[in-house]
Subunit: 221 residues, 2 copies
């Protein structure tokens, strides 16, 4: 057998943590494969065997890591949302006027939908069809941190005397709804407005429109 490679010569504990690292890596591979497949499709329609084939991993690993396909899809939302939420938390700490934070936040939400073209549909699918447990998890790792971050910006603007006081819940639904709908209903862009795609210039104009609309509500006269 010659000399075994160092990795296999370690004691049980490192071997276990190596196995754990490999398992974590395989979870990431499954998410990445799912992300890649969904990014190429217009509907959230992907089978466990497709994911297994594309990732080069056994589909039993999906059950092992995520429990079910819905669990995998939820984990994908969590992965994609995490980087956006982390940028939002950076934004909150920046030393810029509250109005600029609102504008950057609108751009951040809209850019997230553009960066992950399936994310919007995936969230809608999970909210529409899933168990209460999945909906609750989605609220915990996505909606609540988003609402907290927004509330912080609103509070700062109010305490600096530049924003009126508004209900953070109403702000959340109207702001996310406005950002979301142009992506969710994007078939209607084509059929009702003759617009083929959300180009960078359309995106920039819509970001400005939504931010102006929110500021018209927030700004103290």
């Amino acid at each position: 057998m010659g000399i075994a490679p160092p990795a296999t010569m370690n004691s049980v504990t490192p071997r276990k943590s190596q196995r754990a690292a490999k398992r974590t890596a395989s979870a990431g591979q499954l998410l990445q494969a799912t992300s890649k497949i969904l990014a190429q499709r217009n509907v959230i329609d992907v089978s466990l065997s497709e994911i297994a084939e594309s990732s080069g991993l056994n589909s039993a690993l999906i059950k092992y890591h995520f429990g079910s396909k819905d669990g995998l899809l939820l984990a994908l939302v969590r992965r994609d949302a995490a980087s956006s939420l982390s940028r939002l938390n950076d934004l909150i700490r920046m030393k810029i006027p509250p109005e600029q934070k609102i504008r950057l936040h609108v751009a951040g939400v809209i850019n997230t939908y553009i960066r992950y073209p399936y994310l919007n549909r995936l969230i809608h699918l999970l909210l529409n069809n899933s168990s209460e447990q999945i909906t609750q998890e989605l609220a915990n790792f996505f909606v609540k941190p988003l609402v907290e971050a927004q509330s912080k910006i609103l509070e700062d603007g109010f305490s600096q005397g530049v924003f009126r006081r508004v209900d953070p819940m109403f702000f959340y639904y109207s702001m996310i709804g406005a950002c979301d709908h142009i992506f969710f209903a994007r078939h209607s862009l084509e059929f009702a407005f003759g617009v083929d795609e959300i180009t960078p210039s359309l995106r920039d104009n819509y970001v400005e429109y939504v931010a102006d609309m929110l500021m018209g509500m927030l700004r103290k006269d």
Copy 2:
């Protein structure tokens, strides 16, 4: 057999139109049965046999009238949207200030979602999973008339010198998105805000919030 009832004594043509009337009635019955079932459920999950049983009609009639279950669901959206669109068209012709029309329109959209609790999910489901043909039909009988009506209100406000000029497409997505999202994402109401249901007072406050937000954008200073 005694004397046959007058209806069966008519000539072929009236009998044919009677049959047509009966068929139209059965289409209405199928829609009403579907509406009743969906109004009691939190998800759009209804089988052809449930609809048949609840309507007392043969499920083959669904195929006859609507082609498929998606066709039936689309016809239900069309039925429910028609009465709201007709009220919107009455609103456009009213001799009231454009700002009041905007406020009544926001209330109208939100009340439509309350009146038909399944309508929001149903539209989302059809937009998410259906053929391009169904999406296009939805755009034709629902989105386009809505956009035309909104454009008329925006145009009136502009020509009366009380509104700024805004892009009707941006107005559409931000306004409908804001009205839609609190219903679509209503699980998050509970999990993220501890709100159990959209009460009449919550509804009224949200209508006012959205209308104020839109007017902040539209009103000429």
